[in-house]
Symmetry: C2
Subunit: 228 residues, 2 copies
């Protein structure tokens, strides 16, 4: 029954959130899902395969949920605000925590690593698309690589999520600092014609190796993600 499958996926997410990767056993999942423990193996074959699937489906669902929000963002500040809202909401639901736990388990498990990379790429692709759009025409575009920036932002959010679990005040400080960095980029963008020209010439003079970055080939395409 498709209903049982759904319960097991949801139960896995709840278990990863509440007990961590080390406490996510077939018995614990079955208890959270309120189904028989043997059904884990009937439907998914193994606990690892279930965790893998829960990670993928959980991320896909949440990214889908936020997709239109990402597409409506019209400034870096708004993007950060969306990130903070997402951080707060998903923390309660536990979806980012789940990703962090799977990522921790994935360091020693090639199958989980596939799932974690795939789930992360879903988030990266949204952020990268938004960044690429927002940076068009900005002097920062001379310097910033949307692909790398999107990955750094995603990794930083995972790190802050983990940090929040042990020091929530410190994590708030970290988020404020990211906000300040966003202000820095806004100020650069608002420099006006004279300042902007000085900024650009400064880049060219001090960092001649930097060229417009649209040829790196590292941008994240949809086909790259949908390979399962």
């Amino acid at each position: 029954m498709i209903e049982t499958r759904r319960k097991l996926i949801d139960g896995t997410i709840a278990t990863l959130r509440d007990k961590g990767i080390a406490g996510t056993s077939a018995r614990a999942i079955a208890a959270a899902a309120e189904v028989n423990q043997a059904l884990v193996f009937y439907h998914f074959g193994s606990v690892d395969a279930l965790i893998d699937q829960a990670c993928r489906e959980g991320a896909a669902e949440r990214v889908e949920f936020y997709r239109s929000r990402f597409s409506q963002v019209s400034s870096l500040r708004e993007l950060l605000a969306l990130g903070q809202e997402l951080h707060a909401q998903e923390r309660e639901a536990g979806n980012v925590t789940v990703l962090a736990q799977v990522l921790a388990g994935a360091q020693q498990d090639a199958n989980l690593a596939d799932a974690a990379r795939h789930a992360l790429l879903l988030w990266v692709a949204e952020i990268e698309t938004a960044l690429a759009r927002l940076l068009v025409g900005s002097p920062i575009a001379e310097l910033a690589d949307p692909a790398g920036l999107a990955r750094a932002v995603t990794a930083a959010f995972i790190g802050i999520e983990l940090y929040e679990g042990v020091d929530s005040a410190g994590a708030q400080n970290a988020l404020s600092a990211l906000e300040q960095l966003t202000l820095l980029t806004e100020i650069v963008e608002d420099l006006g014609t004279v300042g902007r020209r000085a900024f650009l010439s400064r880049i060219r003079r001090t960092h001649p190796a930097l060229r417009p970055l649209h040829d790196s080939g590292s941008s994240t395409t949809r086909s790259e993600i949908e390979s399962d």
Copy 2:
């Protein structure tokens, strides 16, 4: 014997690195340390207590090792370069991975959370001290809070470390992006008198709420760390 204690701490770090938090059992640790499994409980009482101790001592040792390097850094670019070197070296030794694994386990365990927070604060304090020194006199000091920035950087490094385990090329992109952000701050610092004045007035005009931040009380003191 003090030698056995040492072996167990080292064995715990090696096990966390190679098998993750989910695979770090008394038996696995004892095998890595090449001592009898019962000695885990004789010397530390429980597996959790040993992980706790290994996390604290491992971080303290590595921070101590890098302390003079941090104190010699004289620019944000050098600080980032030190961070990249540290990332590469500690990845092999596994000390950052260990921190990430303990952090994952700490989400559901208050004792481990204490240890993880303590270990993270050791790194945060070094980075914060360096940042506070480097930002003196910089126009960025009007905007940047060294305490929050140090926490963001530390969390980002943990996140990138986990990301590297599932997508090393992507993690390199993320590190490059951080490098680009550093260049952005350098350029702002190099704006010259006219540009700098424009920058400062821009901050005051667009963000009047921002005052010099040295009164926030959130800076990390040594006494705050040495409370065990």
